[in-house]
Symmetry: C3
Subunit: 162 residues, 3 copies
Amino acid sequence: MSDQAKDNATMIVFDGDLDKAIASFIIATGAAAMGKKVTMFFTFWGLNVLRKDEAINIQDKNFLEKMFEKMMPRGPKKLKLSKMNYGGAGSYLMKKMMKEHNVQTLPELIELAQDLDVKMVACTMTMDVMGLKEEELMDGIEYAGVASYLSEAEDANVNLFI
Amino acid sequence: MSDQAKDNATMIVFDGDLDKAIASFIIATGAAAMGKKVTMFFTFWGLNVLRKDEAINIQDKNFLEKMFEKMMPRGPKKLKLSKMNYGGAGSYLMKKMMKEHNVQTLPELIELAQDLDVKMVACTMTMDVMGLKEEELMDGIEYAGVASYLSEAEDANVNLFI
Amino acid sequence: MSDQAKDNATMIVFDGDLDKAIASFIIATGAAAMGKKVTMFFTFWGLNVLRKDEAINIQDKNFLEKMFEKMMPRGPKKLKLSKMNYGGAGSYLMKKMMKEHNVQTLPELIELAQDLDVKMVACTMTMDVMGLKEEELMDGIEYAGVASYLSEAEDANVNLFI
């Protein structure tokens, strides 16, 4: 594989903050529009970006899993800013200012990424640890572990941890 | 472009914390000193690293933009640590300890980066969103969007998101 | 060096949070198991990952260095989550949930990394600044500066800042 051109892009979306999620999807859709093969690997708090808006009732969760489910932001509309969030005021204002400047919203960016065939992968190990089930995550994504990420990263030169 | 050697370095400076800004400029100046072409792309909170020390009076800002302008740290001397900041005590102590060990200050590192032809680019999209104007940012920098970053990253193998 | 295949992996471990440290070692051990040469460069708060569990009494520290030594988490067992830490409850629960799902603990992952010949390097410049001494850090690691990191990164395409 060492002779191959390394022209793809991968991103590990770890933090799952609103601003970092927006940045990662702007980079991903930009790279995909330039013809690159792009893989986003969502792990730890980044999994919250992929959660469905509505609460999904899963029976076989234990107490800790239920608690994590409740306390973590549910989906792209609930994410918080990494800085200056001020109990949600900051993320509200950021969204307002993005709208004023015709920047796409996070849900729109995610849809665009899927249209551009950006591969979105949920990390199965951290899903297990946090007790998140496939039914709770959005459609059209893939499920894999770190080996899958590393094999994609092998053919890429733009590999970011966000 | 796929046959080309990927030997350059790019950094997305996103967080704009004092410690992360110092780290990014130490890497940038080190790489430039080794003969690499280095591009730093400042976006979101990272734009604060590029702000001038003095307040610049811009007339045509709306209320939200004025508020963001006031609340975000103005330039490299006002940045805070990402951890253990304790209302500024931490960043004061970090600077003191860096001085004791003859580590360059952030303003000195920025100057060195400019002397070494590190390309510093402000992200125009997030400038728009946050209402930051060119007059508020330091001299000698460039202005561009994500496509420009991606085209630099294409020729680099060291691509960091900081 | 530009003709060489860039197939190695490097990681700058900057934040030193429990979750980010776990992620970095899972990536590092995964990449090493695939036969890649992996270098982890620990700097700033990331140095805390390498600290020994027990307090080491060093005589020639000044007041600030003693204070940083006391306030920063001592070693992998004391690290906190980057989010939802809640005074340690979050990291306790995360460890409990990892154990339930048979994910290796951070100390086990570090040991595995060393068995797989992952090169672990402590950044001497930030050690100096923070007043950390070699006696306080775990055995089997190397000591170097940013030039050493950059020279490793030159032969790698997976270069992450965590």
